[in-house]
Amino acid sequence: MKEVQRAIQRFVRGDDAASAAAGVAQLSIAVAARLRVYRHHFQLSLTQALVAVYPVVARIVDERFFAWLAHEFVGSNPPRDPRLSRYGASFAAFIEQFAAANHVPYLPDVARLEWALHESLHAPDEALLAPSASRLPEDPGNLRLSFLRSVRYVESVWPIATFWTWHRDQPEVSLVLERRPTHLEIRRTSDAVGFREISPATYRLRSTMARGGTLGDAANAATSIEPDFNLSLALGELFGDGILATTN
């Protein structure tokens, strides 16, 4: 039974039909043609899932290019989770090493933004940390905070927020390719997700702590790029911003 399932799985992922066909009953229509229905569904349904998660990436490249990109990704990156909403996490990294996509250098970062928006939308519901609990301990350098899992941080050397909005709203758009570092915070409201641009130092502070770093590490990261960074003001904003979760 295991070998039958493994052989069919290999075929669906792209191998030839010989071993998959071995145990399949021969009827009027050839076994290979029957098995191809499963392979076709695998490719098509996962490509559609990628289009749903990466609509702006799909608009930036044309439909045929995206279909090729998705086909190559799906074949080498089958889902490892039964939830379709978890599919496509490594798409940005895949685009980055897909040589034919190099002519759109900001494409991987737009993909990272779209994955962050998608993850934020589907993140579990969590209780907000009450403002009364937002006090600094005696040893603030070792403070760690739990961020809501719907809060995400994405940065790029490209103005991806602008590019994302332009490509979303206009089918044909000519962009001026100029680098401009962008630091984004993604958040979920009750019925939608959105992002806003934050300063590089605020980004360092928040993203370091969101990854589990201490306040000490985060403050060092922020002040290393902005020596005059007002830490107490930034902490007040962080505690008051509705992005922290209770730890249990």
Binding site: Q5, S45, P82, E126
Partner: protein, 280 residues
């Protein structure tokens, strides 16, 4: 007796319509995997559940895989069941992948003593984890296996008897499988014990031609075909009406089109002798 309810499968494009008129169908069925996260989707399901019965239809447990069940996924399903309190939980007599991969499909398994032991153990584990009976849906098969020693209906009978699970008879799947792999639908219906069938599914399929032969794809992308309505009539004639769901998953039409399909199923329920119509 009052005929059981007719429900519709809840899909994202109809969410606003359904929340605006939660009594438009007698129940709503959702794919469990679409509601395992938080955010607006989960909130909408919570809101709907206050006003209408909900059934959960799982597509990710892969009960037919020859390997361990994904316990983290089973725990997520349990958590959703606890919150939603569905009146039915169903899954599939199928496998979706092996060795940690998922093909996003529902493939049939050979029907043998070995596979019966595998599926029965997974159904036992699922029912124990959820604390309730689950229904298993028959697959829309494009292939069958030389090594099968049981036919599908006999396999389901033994599975129900060993585990106490029920059957979700997808009438469209039965029709599609009968045309693709030669199942005898009449013998199939004669084999299943009436007490095992607790829900029926209806959906559209796509007929194509492969190598000059008709081939039937279970795409849920159109209205229920006349041949499937005929088989539905035969099924409820034999077993009596059962809670029945209209599914439509691709090329999704306006919500009213689904409700018209539901109304047709309701009329057919009430045409069975001895049954009075159920309100929508």
């Amino acid at each position: 007796m009052i005929a059981p309810a007719i429900g519709v499968g809840l899909r994202a494009p109809h969410l606003a319509d359904v929340l605006a008129s939660p009594r438009s169908a007698a129940f709503f069925e959702v794919h469990a995997e679409n509601y395992m996260g938080g955010g607006p989707a989960r909130a909408a399901l919570r809101q709907l559940r206050q006003d209408a019965p909900v059934s959960l239809h799982g597509v990710g447990l892969s009960l037919g895989t020859d390997g361990p069940i994904n316990r983290a996924h089973l725990a997520r399903l349990r958590s959703l069941v606890d919150e939603v309190q569905p009146f039915i939980v169903s899954e599939h007599l199928a496998w979706s992948g092996i060795d940690g991969f998922y093909l996003n499909d529902l493939c049939p398994t050979p029907y043998t003593a070995e596979s019966l032991a595998v599926v029965a153990a997974h159904v036992d584990e699922t029912q124990e984890a959820l604390g309730m009976r689950v229904l298993l849906e028959n697959p829309a098969s494009y292939i069958s296996f030389d090594q099968s020693s049981l036919d599908e209906a006999a396999f389901l009978v033994q599975l129900c008897s060993r585990t106490g699970c029920g059957v979700l008879l997808d009438v469209n799947n039965l029709y599609v499988a009968s045309r693709n792999v030669g199942l005898d639908v009449h013998a199939y219906l004669r084999t299943l014990p009436p007490g095992a069938i607790e829900e029926l599914h209806l959906a559209g399929h796509h007929r194509t031609d492969v190598e000059g032969f008709p081939f039937f794809i279970d795409d849920h992308g159109s209205a229920v075909e006349p041949e499937v309505w005929d088989l539905f009539a035969e099924t409820i004639g034999a077993f009596g009406p059962r809670p029945t769901l209209i599914e439509w998953d691709s090329q999704i039409p306006r919500y009213e089109v689904l409700l018209a399909e539901a109304a047709k199923a309701r009329r057919m329920h009430s045409a069975v002798e001895g049954w009075a119509p159920c309100p929508p």
